[in-house]
């Protein structure tokens, strides 16, 4: 019923656009795209990994003192329910020195590409792992955002009254993370709800500056960590004294974060760096003496990156490290987790054809995700994209999906 209402609203809005223009509301802008995304697994099953049709619309209007934007989207699948939603729906109020944005919005921070270090405001939709476009991975949140401007600097404050967690793959999805347990598991979701309240709201701050020669951001926040920690209860068979089963209780925890990022050109290179200190995170442990099988630890997450242009090829490399302080044996995460990313991108035929190779390399587990793709702009606004997702290794963040290698095609028309 809810989907029907949204669908009818979208259709009504589309149909009423010419009428709005006719009656003088022609300052309302309307654009969007339609897209078909078809992917097939290259393993022996040859199954379709995704068959998705997308309609994405943007309605917006801007005046001197205020503006609004509504971004409804529709995902149609052959094997799943129709999905309708609002990626963004907000109003802006403009003042002399500051802006106020209220409503559902995507807030993006940081200088890293493809990884999330200080980019903590927008929760992630990981139902298709890291494969969708990043503007589709980052979810909108209902928030009040205030931006105060002075010179080339901006002070930003975000208050979100409602916590939105990471959206994880559904049970049975090929993108569900691999979880190995020594006994049958059951889930208890009784602590997985964070009720909307003033006490449970989240706050974030950012100071950013675009200076001559370098840009930087200083950020901080007090929020719920988007991924749950599993409080694990072990059930022992009293007759055999053996582990009989486990109860997993997903639980969200408050964290504090402070960090920053910088980018600066050095000769022909562009150097980027980003780092954050997290306090109050929880990590899983296999130590049977630890009640709940989770430990509270602070951790550091940081990145250094380099961009370069060689013979018209855009090259980029990043080294990312995550470090758990006061590390204890038995923790599931490594004390130091190292990842690298590489990007090579070049256009041909006067920006009609783009070839790109992006790769995540997991150093700890010797795994990787390699993503070559070619995009051809068949006509203005219409593109055909062909690519592959190749998972290497057999464990780790990428190697766990070694059976999910896929080829895909996307046809997209922007209007």
């Amino acid at each position: 019923m809810k989907n029907k209402i949204i669908l009818m609203t979208m259709l009504s809005a589309m149909l009423s656009l010419p009428a709005m223009a006719q009656f003088g509301n022609d300052n309302i802008r309307f654009n969007g795209f339609v897209r078909n995304y078809t992917g097939v697994l290259t393993n022996e099953t040859g199954e379709l990994s995704i068959l998705q049709n997308t309609l994405n619309l943007n309605f917006s209007s801007r005046g001197d003192k205020m503006a609004f934007k509504v971004n409804p989207y529709l995902y149609h699948y052959t094997d799943r329910d129709l999905e309708l939603g609002l990626r963004e729906a907000y109003m802006d109020m403009y003042f002399n020195k500051f802006d106020l944005r209220v409503g559902k919005q995507q807030v993006i921070w940081g200088k890293a590409e493809g990884v999330f270090i200080t980019d903590v405001v927008a929760p992630k939709d990981l139902r298709e792992f890291l494969l969708p476009d990043f503007d589709e991975i980052r979810m909108g949140i209902t928030a009040f955002k205030l931006n105060y401007y002075f010179g080339n600097s901006t002070l930003e404050a975000v208050w979100t009254p409602v916590f939105t967690p990471t959206q994880m793959p559904e049970s049975g999805s090929i993108w569900q993370p691999r979880m190995d347990f020594p006994a049958p598991v059951g889930f208890d979701h009784s602590r997985a709800e964070i009720s909307p309240s003033l006490e449970n709201s989240e706050v974030y701050f950012r100071f950013s500056a675009m200076a001559s020669g370098f840009d930087y951001e200083l950020v901080g926040g007090y929020f719920w960590y988007d991924d749950p920690a599993m409080h694990i209860t072990r059930h022992i068979d009293h007759q055999t004294q053996q582990l009989a089963s486990l109860t997993l209780m997903p639980e969200y925890h408050r964290v504090s974060m402070a960090g920053g990022s910088i980018s600066t050109p050095v000769g022909p290179f562009l150097i980027r760096a980003e780092g954050a200190y997290y306090s109050g995170r929880y990590f899983q442990t296999t130590n049977p003496m630890v009640q709940g099988a989770k430990l509270e630890k602070d951790n550091l997450h940081y990145m250094a990156g380099l961009d370069y242009n060689l013979w018209g090829i855009t090259l980029s490399a990043q080294f990312i490290q995550e470090y758990i302080l006061d590390y204890e044996e038995g923790m599931q995460n490594d004390e130091l987790d190292n990842t690298m990313t590489f990007l090579a991108k070049k256009d041909f035929l006067r920006e009609k054809l783009w070839a790109e190779l992006f790769a995540y390399i997991g150093i700890n587990h010797e795994d990787a995700l390699i993503r070559p793709k070619v995009t051809y702009n068949f006509a203005d606004g219409f593109e055909v994209l062909g690519g592959a997702n190749i998972f290497l290794g057999d464990k780790g963040r990428f190697g766990q999906y070694k059976d999910n290698d896929m080829l895909y095609v996307k046809l997209k028309y922007s209007f």
Binding site: S212, D307, D347, E383
Partner: protein
Amino acid sequence: MKKPNVIISVTLLALAICTTSGSMAQPTGQKIMEDVYNLPKGDDMQGELTMTLINRQGEQRLRNLRQYAKDDGDVEKKIMFFLSPADVRGTSFMNWSYTGGRDDDQWIYLPALRRVRRISSDGKGDYFMGSDFTYDDLGERHPDDDNHKLLREETLNGKACYVVESTPKDPDYMYSKTITWVMKENNLGLKREFYDDRGRLLKILEIKQFEKVNGFWTILETEMRNVQNNHTTRMKFTDVQYNQGIPDRQFTERSMTLGE
């Protein structure tokens, strides 16, 4: 996408091939370029540009953008908002260039990424938005970067012109030389030829329409043709205005994200 200010730059390109006339003595090529480089061009400028890209099969692609520029003497700030095609609408690009040869600061805002990103200003030989203009073609090349020689005087399209050859002092520059035709009667350029690093003719720029706007000579229509691959770019400028008092806040992160 790097190095913007298409309107002013193309205007200067034309002006760069203008000379001071009226003197009976034949000016030197160096003097021509120095005079042109120092011509007044207003404190700020805004306008809209439509680019038509035409390939050898005659297929056309359109690019449309709006641009603002401001020069306070020390820093020249420019910002461009891409209006079409639909898949690049909302993209903005900002460039700050400094007197004294410091590297430019450049940023791009991609609406899909929703954040402003600094980019390297290296790559002046790259083509602007798939056109036949490189970023350097659109920039203000200092006359001291080349050796200039007045080759001859001749009539082109019924106009008496000076013909000036400019050879770069940097042997690694993308062009081995350029030759420009300058109208004597109004000091405006009619044509420029660009030669590749092997000395072969690469591109021809022709000015199709120009007039004075707010007291400043402005190119309103121009065409660049790559003779080696038979690709052509037409540029048409509309709604050009000078000295409208564009505020500094037009050239900030806030402006880039909000759009034109």
